[in-house]
């Protein structure tokens, strides 16, 4: 059984919402195994739509191959939890069990693993996101950052080869953002992050793909594209500057 050379292969993807909006207009993209890619773009560019199409939740025209290309479910579009894991923008949608432990165990249990193995995976995933001991907590009592991390743990428990996240740093404070960045840094497989937060994305991703109006506007190394301020501005993006006091001279700042 040969594994395809690329993790994700998308060709001429088109998707139109039922109200007529064309979200994706002939998008083509290739992602290698182990790459970490940031999908950036203004609102409405199609980032979330693309992720949903990859996950098989939206039926698009064109070619989509994720992982080995074998699908599961009644319509065979979903790549399967071990192939592709998606963390939504709203963690509330992904934490649907009464306790965090049950949510993280949901994936492994659906794989019909033994309870001992399930418990191991749960402990492992919670520890990877810094939420050890949260098994009996209920989701609605968690803070925003904790919910985001719990959702990531729930997806990680399925041990996906490709991990995709939709705006993982949205609405998080600095501490929680750092925690998420740490988690993504530690992920060993293929990473796909849709985010407008280039500051955090740059710490985690090597490749930057800029989406605008349903197509790819730019595709290159993060460091190269971020230096092109005009390009960023043209597509509604901004690479935020960070000010720290200069250690040698308290009156000036370094960027």
């Amino acid at each position: 059984m040969s594994t395809p050379s690329t993790a994700i292969d998308v060709s001429s993807l088109r998707y139109r919402y039922h109200d007529g909006t064309e979200a994706l207009r002939g998008l083509s993209l290739r992602v290698e195994h182990g790459e970490s890619v940031c999908l950036a773009g203004p609102n409405g560019a199609g980032k979330s739509t693309l992720l949903l199409c990859l996950a098989g939740l939206l039926k698009a025209e064109g070619g989509v191959r994720v992982g080995s290309g074998k699908g599961v479910g009644p319509d065979l579009r979903i790549p399967g939890p071990a192939a592709f894991g998606l963390v939504f923008q709203d963690p509330e949608d992904q934490l649907f069990c009464p306790t965090v432990g049950e949510d993280v165990a949901f994936g492994p249990r659906n794989e019909k693993l033994q309870e001992g193995e399930v418990a191991r995976r749960v402990a492992e995933s919670l520890s990877a996101v810094g939420l050890s001991g949260f098994e009996t907590r209920s989701a609605h009592h968690l803070s925003g950052g904790e919910k985001r991390r719990a959702a990531i743990a729930a997806v990680l428990a399925c041990r996906p080869a490709i991990l995709a996240l939709d705006e993982p740093w949205a609405n998080l404070d600095a501490r929680a953002s750092r925690a998420v960045t740490g988690i993504l840094d530690g992920f060993g497989g293929t990473l796909l992050v849709a985010s407008q937060d280039l500051y955090h994305a740059a710490e985690v991703c090597e490749r930057l793909v800029i989406l605008d109006g349903g197509t790819i506007a730019a595709d290159g190394r993060v460091k190269d594209l971020l230096a092109d301020a005009a390009l960023l501005e043209a597509h509604g993006l901004e690479f935020g500057a960070r000010c720290i006091p200069c250690p040698h001279n308290s009156h000036s700042f370094a960027i």
Partner: protein, 251 residues
């Protein structure tokens, strides 16, 4: 809506908390059954029932004031429905403060009040000593249909989310000057509710997607089955016999 009261004492580690969820559920149900079938004239029985509640609360380290406080919330309904009875019910009357009150009516009122209070108290104890997911597992273990349990779990999970969204919608409307004063403005409430329903529908679509992505194929997976210990059986037997004896013998 504060929901902390639901889980306030469920993580305490007491002897009662450690009982099998099924035992606690059956005990609570049986207790309510006995209370509800006891004629109000058997006042001593009701005193014993109340004593049982107090004793269990103490064992479970749940403050009695908390249990009583939540139980008293049920009294307004009693007042609404049965308060008129002593004034209107026929038959024998006694005079209190110069007003003739029907004895039969008084008994009905007293019975209804005592039973509803005790019923709520039993459930408060049950819920305070058993995390909701354990309670659901217990119900599943007792034979409740799996689909129903799954639905209860999901509904419970999104209860507060939806309520929060509803509150936000209402605050937004109030901020724009909406203050319901007369009936036709119910239509505006309706529009808010319609908005809320669409949100709940779209939430269901997203949750369904999340479930499918993690391997859902029609049935929620279940944890390992609960294990019944000898101690659980003994406690249950003791409770049931005690309650049955009180019901039958105490007048």
């Amino acid at each position: 809506m504060e929901h902390d009261f639901l889980d306030k004492y469920s993580s305490v580690d007491s002897w009662v908390h450690r009982l099998d969820a099924r035992v606690k559920a059956i005990a609570a149900l049986f207790f309510i059954l006995m209370v509800v079938t006891t004629p109000p004239q058997h006042l001593l029985a009701f005193v014993i029932y109340a004593g049982l509640i107090a004793w269990t609360a103490a064992l479970a380290q749940v403050p009695l004031a908390f249990v009583a406080g939540r139980a008293l919330l049920v009294l307004p309904f009693s007042a609404l429905v049965a308060l008129g009875l002593p004034f209107l019910g026929g038959g024998e009357t006694i005079t209190v403060l110069g007003i003739g009150l029907s004895v039969k009516g008084l008994w009905v009122l007293a019975g209804a009040a005592m039973k509803s209070l005790l019923g709520v108290a039993a459930l408060v104890l049950l819920v305070s000593t058993t995390p909701f997911s354990m309670l659901l597992a217990g119900m599943r273990g007792l034979g409740a249909p799996a689909l129903f349990i799954d639905l209860l779990a999901l509904t419970y999970r999104y209860l507060f989310v939806l309520f929060g969204e509803g509150m936000r919608l209402r605050r937004a409307a109030a901020a724009r000057g909406y203050r319901p004063r007369w009936l036709p403005q119910a239509a505006i409430v309706g529009r808010l509710a319609g908005n809320l329903f669409i949100r709940s529908y779209e939430r269901a679509e997203r949750v369904y997607g999340a479930m499918r992505l993690r391997g859902y194929s029609g049935q929620m997976p279940t944890a390992a089955p609960l294990r019944f210990r000898a101690a659980d059986g003994l406690v249950l037997a003791a409770l049931i016999s005690a309650l049955a004896l009180v019901r039958v013998l105490v007048r």
